[in-house]
């Protein structure tokens, strides 16, 4: 996927109407912006600050506080900038940053938006509670108890589906994020718990070795309340601390890259989003039907 557009290249007519987001990346720091740009590209045309040509950015994404000075004294558009330490917050604000981004959870209390270094777009993966997993297994003809072991990644075809049906899973590596987002009761290693900042015994159970892990997962699979609590906390952890969608939406909103609808219909959307209602779900379709007559475009709500 091409993250940065080349303004010299011919753009489509629709592209010209999209807001422009310019990326100003200091050497060695662009990596922290790459995952976000994939999502921001939905809202905006993303260009390099240095190669923006005649384009006037609607927003600027800066990967380091030191680079803020490269902008003119009065930034031409709202700026979001990464901060690493407390002392960078005042500097960034003095230099006109409208939004602070950080990988440091300690800075969230000071208004910075968390961009987790290891993250997943949680909204893409609806949570599946243990009771529903049981029904899905029944529909699929799987055993009443189905414990998975997943190491590394998840098979692109069907792997996610199986993870969303598992009673519990022993997971390590990249698949852990997906398992947590899906609300899978997870048993994992101390290393994974540390890397993802999970709370042992709450967001996931921890086991020292493979045999102990499978034994723990089997026990969870036979204990509804334990599985339900793990599932709930795993999903919340993914939403609150490991989600890439949330900072992307915040950047888009604060830099004015995405429209901020107002009014009653927008509030319905807000409420559905608050409950993590998936796009295209039957519930959103029913809400859109109910509201279609109230919206000028016959259902302009994203519901």
């Amino acid at each position: 996927m091409t993250v940065l557009d080349d303004p010299a290249a011919a753009g489509s007519a629709g592209d010209a109407e999209r807001p422009v987001l310019a990326l100003l990346a200091a050497p060695g720091t662009s990596g922290r912006a790459i995952p976000l740009l994939g999502l921001l590209g939905i809202h905006a045309r993303v260009v390099s600050w240095h190669r923006r040509g005649a384009l006037v950015p609607d927003g600027v994404l800066v990967t380091s506080v030191d680079s803020l000075r490269s902008l003119s004294t009065a930034p031409p558009a709202p700026v979001a900038v990464w901060v690493k330490h407390h002392d960078q917050i005042d500097r960034a604000t003095e230099d006109g940053a409208a939004l602070l981004l950080t990988a440091n959870p300690d800075l969230v209390a000071r208004g910075a938006v968390l961009v987790p270094p290891v993250a997943i777009e949680v909204d893409r993966w609806p949570a599946v509670a243990p009771l529903v997993r049981r029904r899905r297994r029944e529909a699929a003809g799987l055993p009443a108890v189905h414990v998975l072991r997943v190491e590394g990644g998840v098979e692109p075809l069907g792997g996610e589906r199986e993870l969303a049906m598992a009673s519990a899973a022993v997971v390590s590596g990249p698949a852990t994020l997906l398992a947590l987002a899906l609300g899978t009761p997870v048993v994992t290693s101390p290393e994974t718990v540390r890397r993802l900042g999970l709370r042992p015994g709450r967001d996931a159970e921890v086991a020292g070795g493979p045999d102990e892990a499978m034994e723990r997962a089997e026990a969870i699979a036979h204990d509804d309340a334990w599985a339900a609590a793990l599932s709930r906390h795993a999903r919340r952890r993914a939403e609150d601390h490991l989600d890439l969608g949330r900072p992307a939406r915040e950047v888009a909103r604060r830099l004015g890259l995405a429209p901020s609808p107002a009014g009653a219909v927008a509030r319905v959307d807000d409420r559905l989003a608050e409950l993590a209602t998936p796009a295209g779900s039957p519930t959103r379709a029913r809400v859109a039907d109910a509201l279609a007559v109230l919206t000028a475009d016959g259902g302009g709500s994203s519901a």
Binding site: L131, R135, G183
Partner: protein, 342 residues
């Protein structure tokens, strides 16, 4: 405080939940608060199941505290939401697979099921404190949603009027219940038919099974012994409780069951089954009543035992009364609002 009690309206129906809401609003007012009930109708079929839930998210509730009591009223959105849960949508939980649940294994059902469990978990998790009307309701929430709650028991309707008789033995077996399948009123008739003692019975209540039950009583040869008076006014019901030898109450996996508490307040033991849910939080075998395996023979034998041994019936009934006589609405109100300090 200004308190709104949020409940689901079921037009043209009145049952235990409606009485509970009225009593809670009354108790809040008695305690000096301004209180109102807010009710929104809901549909229970799969395709419309979450319509009222969505509506509750949008309802402006300007009060100090809201107290939702059932699905989907607990979707109410308020920073000081204190749950006192009578029931979730049981067709999506312990009722899966029951004839009255339309959540089958189709893709459409599985998605609605996924959505309702996920939404429930979120909105129940929002509450600043969680109480349930019984232990069985709390246990279900923990089992399926991973959320803890504390049982908070209430006195039943007519609590102030129900008193034990002062002398004599009971004259009949009473089964006061709605005549619906989940209450299993037919089990009462079958038990009466299997009794050795020819004691009278009263099956009091209204419901869709009334005609079928009347025919069943005729077929079982109970027409002379068992009456089906339909709706019974409160004063008459109090007297029926007072003069009963035993009360039969054997619903399937009941959430709470006012009947049990009403019987106990009247000093009457309860005969039930081992799958009656919340009823078993009160009926302890050979302590406050008799718990059977639910077969007509076992139920009939239990009733015979109480008819033949009035001292046993009196002792179990008195123990039951001891368990419930101190339940007070004042305690319910103080507990609910104690979790929501100003």
């Amino acid at each position: 405080m200004d308190v709104l009690v949020c409940a689901t309206q079921v037009p043209f129906m009145r049952g235990g939940l409606e009485m509970m809401v009225e009593n809670l609003v009354g108790a809040l007012r008695d305690a000096g608060h301004r209180a109102e009930a807010v009710e929104i109708p809901a549909a229970w079929d799969r395709d419309r199941l979450l319509d009222a839930a969505t509506a509750w998210r949008m309802v402006p509730l300007d009060a100090d505290v809201v107290i939702p009591v059932n699905f989907p009223a607990y979707y109410a959105r308020h920073p000081r939401k204190v749950l006192w849960l009578a029931h979730q949508h049981r067709a999506a939980y312990d009722g899966l697979g029951q004839p009255w649940s339309d959540l089958d294994l189709s893709e459409a059902s599985l998605e609605v099921h996924r959505q309702v469990v996920d939404w429930d978990t979120r909105v129940l998790g929002e509450c600043i404190s969680r109480f349930t009307i019984s232990g069985v309701v709390a246990q279900r929430m923990q089992q399926y949603n991973g959320l803890k709650a504390t049982p908070l028991y209430q006195p039943p309707p007519l609590a102030d009027q129900l008193k034990p008789r002062t002398a004599g033995v009971g004259s009949h077996i009473l089964c006061p219940t709605r005549l619906e399948a989940n209450k299993r009123p037919g089990l009462f008739l079958d038990a009466m038919a299997s009794m050795g003692e020819a004691v009278d019975g009263v099956l009091a209540g209204k419901g869709s099974l009334a005609d079928e039950l009347a025919a069943s009583a005729e077929r079982l040869g109970l027409a002379d012994r068992v009456s089906l008076p339909g709706f019974v006014p409160d004063d008459d019901l109090v007297e029926l409780f007072r003069q009963a030898t035993a009360v039969v109450y054997a619903p399937y996996d009941e959430d709470y069951g006012f009947v049990t508490l009403q019987a106990f307040l009247a000093g009457v033991p309860v005969v039930t089954t081992d799958d009656s849910g919340g009823v078993l939080e009160w009926v302890e075998h050979e302590v406050t009543g008799l718990v059977t395996d639910g077969t007509p023979g076992a139920m009939g034998a239990a009733l015979d035992r109480l008819v033949r041994d009035p001292d046993l019936a009196r002792r179990l009934g008195a123990a039951g009364r001891d368990r419930v006589k101190d339940l007070r609405w004042e305690h319910v109100v103080a507990t609910l609002l104690g979790g929501a300090p100003r």
